[in-house]
């Protein structure tokens, strides 16, 4: 890629709610990578349903996603998200909508009163995949001014950007399976590999089975630390809410200190680009990132 690229930006609910730092870090990093974000045409996009709405009524979820896709089509731009859960839910909906013309037709009938029609051309993509496949990691590398030497970062994918692989393009894009590891290396850090990186963070059952949810948090963070991780990076803000926000509760339950900084994907890249920690919202985490930020500064 040489010039800039432009996307219809779908930030999802969480980056405009409990994880505002993900939104600001995305804006900062995309500006430096020549990724233009169209927000105006997507203002009336709704929640994807996050898999929760689909529990009650799959068709309802598919209709709302078709509506969002139609809005993106109207901008004439490809669709970008920064939330793994949105990515997964949109990919599943898109798969059902595009492989069954009769289904799409009946869904479109419910969009018609708003003057919308989904033509089936949306290809929702997470920023992580856009970096790999469209922007190119070479461009990311070229913007790195502060390589994260000496840091060992654990990749945490979570579920929705990984499964079911059949609707997430892994066949056509096998490089997606270690996308986070590639980014970690491009920003000059080392990968801390650990077994739970594609497991569940526990967030979906936080209010239902808190004990099990907290055990997931402590299992993953502690096993990442055992692998030498200085920090963890995730493309999913919901995973972030649990791994960061509930880490103190998980540590208390496990009766072990954890103290692991959890970064959103653009925050990791932004750090290596020399962007100010505050502009990346690194002061907005529950687990302090101060130690990590000073480690990066000292390494210079």
């Amino acid at each position: 890629m040489t010039g800039s690229v432009k996307y219809a930006f779908y930030p999802g609910c969480v980056s405009r709610g409990a994880c505002p730092e993900l939104y600001s870090a995305t804006i900062e990093v995309c500006a430096r990578l020549g990724i233009e974000l169209e927000t105006k045409g997507m203002q009336s996009a709704s929640c994807t349903g996050a898999g929760v709405l689909q529990e009650k009524n799959r068709r309802l979820g598919d209709t709302l996603n078709a509506r969002n896709f139609a809005l993106a089509e109207r901008t004439g731009l490809p669709l970008m998200t920064i939330c793994s859960t949105c990515q997964g839910v949109m990919a599943q909906a898109n798969d059902r909508l595009t492989k069954d013309p009769d289904y799409l037709k009946s869904i479109n009938a419910d969009l018609a009163p708003e003057g919308l029609e989904y033509k089936g051309t949306a290809n929702p993509k997470h920023l992580l995949w856009i970096l790999l496949e469209e922007v190119g990691l070479n461009r990311v590398r070229a913007r790195v001014t502060r390589p994260l030497k000496g840091l060992k970062i654990a990749p945490f994918y979570g579920c929705y950007i990984v499964r079911p692989s059949s609707v997430l393009g892994y066949q056509e894009h096998p490089e997606r399976s270690d996308a986070l590891e590639q980014v970690i290396q491009v920003v000059g850090a080392e990968v801390a590999d650990f077994p739970g990186k594609t497991a569940c963070c526990g967030f979906p059952i936080l209010t239902i089975n808190e004990k099990a949810s907290m055990k997931m948090v402590s299992n993953h963070t502690l096993s990442a630390k055992d692998a030498g991780a200085t920090a963890m990076v995730t493309p999913c803000p919901l995973c972030h809410l649990n791994l960061d926000g509930y880490q103190p509760t998980a540590a208390a339950q496990a009766r072990k200190p954890i103290d692991l900084s959890i970064l959103h994907l653009p925050q990791l890249i932004g750090l290596a680009m020399g962007i100010d920690a505050k502009a990346l919202g690194l002061n907005k985490h529950i687990m302090s990132t101060q130690k990590l930020v000073s480690q990066v500064a000292v390494a210079q």
């Binding site: 405009r16 709610g17 994880c19 009524n57 497991a199 059952i205 209010t207």
Partner: protein, 318 residues
């Protein structure tokens, strides 16, 4: 082609029983499955390797095990398909979430106990018909997808909830429960669902999709669990955190188009649940201090009335 099988071994009869890994270098055919490789090891290299297999045709469900960290049927998985980027090594381990008897053989009692717990038999009421029970064809075709389960335990092996809570019924048993709840000949739907909404039941699933990914028969256990949740709510089981979470979530989207994160936990626990409300305070304060509290006045998206209209339209079709 040359391949190395790195097999996790465990012998309970050894002097100091402890798991360890042993590598076997093999020359195998391009078409060979992981099971072909393991049988070759057992027959030609090391007769002490224990594994369970029978039909070798992905029908009996005996040879579920983990290859490179994920559950597969060894007889349905070609070695070649799992060797990526020039690698010649596969790591083979016993299925997870079940006790290991020896090497790749696991104890299935925990699996069967959970299947039995969902009462996997038809429970019709009333006078039995003179001849057979008549069921609509489309209902039975729908159920055929669940009945395709061969009880191999792959989904149980990789279930992320069972890893942290043994009380969870798990994907295989819950899919089996759906098979009877959705059977038109069964009359125990309400009482079955009443049990399934308890701790360890349908609401404890994280929706992580591991079971969907690893099922060798396309049973889609998680999809069945979601369908059970829906049926539970339809049958009046609203009084659980899971049901309240789903209903509060839907109300929020219907009202404003996006999720009101501040009110979701309040709606889930119920505002009069003093214990849970008090528990939320410390994190709420911390979030407030760090500038990550969701907005107190949740704003609706422009055109939220279109979302409401879609809700009403689609919900009326049910």
């Amino acid at each position: 082609m040359e391949v190395t099988l790195n097999v996790r071994r465990y012998d309970p009869d050894s002097a100091k029983p402890a798991p360890y890994y042993q590598e076997y270098d093999l020359e195998i055919d391009e078409t060979h499955t992981v099971l072909d490789g393991l049988i070759k090891v057992r027959e030609e290299v090391d007769g002490t390797l224990a594994l369970r297999c029978s039909c070798r045709s992905a029908v009996c469900g005996s040879c579920a095990m983990r290859v490179n960290g994920h559950a597969v049927l060894a007889c349905k998985t070609k070695v070649r398909d799992l060797l990526h980027r020039g690698s010649t090594k596969l790591t083979v381990e016993p299925a997870g979430n079940m006790p290991i008897i020896k090497d790749l053989v696991v104890e299935f009692n925990v699996f069967w106990d959970k299947i039995r717990a969902v009462e996997p038999w038809l429970q019709p009421q009333g006078v039995p018909p003179q001849q057979e029970y008549i069921a609509p064809n489309e209902d039975m075709l729908h159920l055929a997808g669940v009945m395709a389960c061969i009880m191999c335990g792959a989904c149980v092996s990789d279930c992320t909830v069972l890893e942290v809570d043994k009380h969870f019924l798990g994907p295989a048993a819950l899919a089996k429960a759906y098979r009877f709840v959705a059977d038109p000949r069964d009359d125990a739907e309400k009482s079955r669902l009443g049990k399934l909404v308890q701790y360890g039941g349908v609401w404890d699933c994280t929706r992580c999709m591991q079971c969907v990914q690893v099922c060798p028969k396309g049973v889609d256990p998680m999809g069945r669990i979601m369908a059970l949740r829906d049926r539970a709510i339809e049958n009046g089981y609203h009084n659980s955190n899971g049901a309240r979470h789903a209903e509060t979530f839907a109300r929020s989207i219907k009202h404003s188009g996006t999720l009101d994160e501040l009110r979701l936990p309040i709606g889930t626990f119920g505002i009069w649940n003093v214990k849970e409300m008090l528990k939320l305070i410390p994190l709420g304060l911390k979030a407030q201090m760090r500038g990550k509290r969701p907005p107190i006045f949740h704003k609706a998206i422009p055109g939220a009335e279109n979302v409401r209209r879609i809700f009403e339209k689609v919900e009326s079709k049910r």
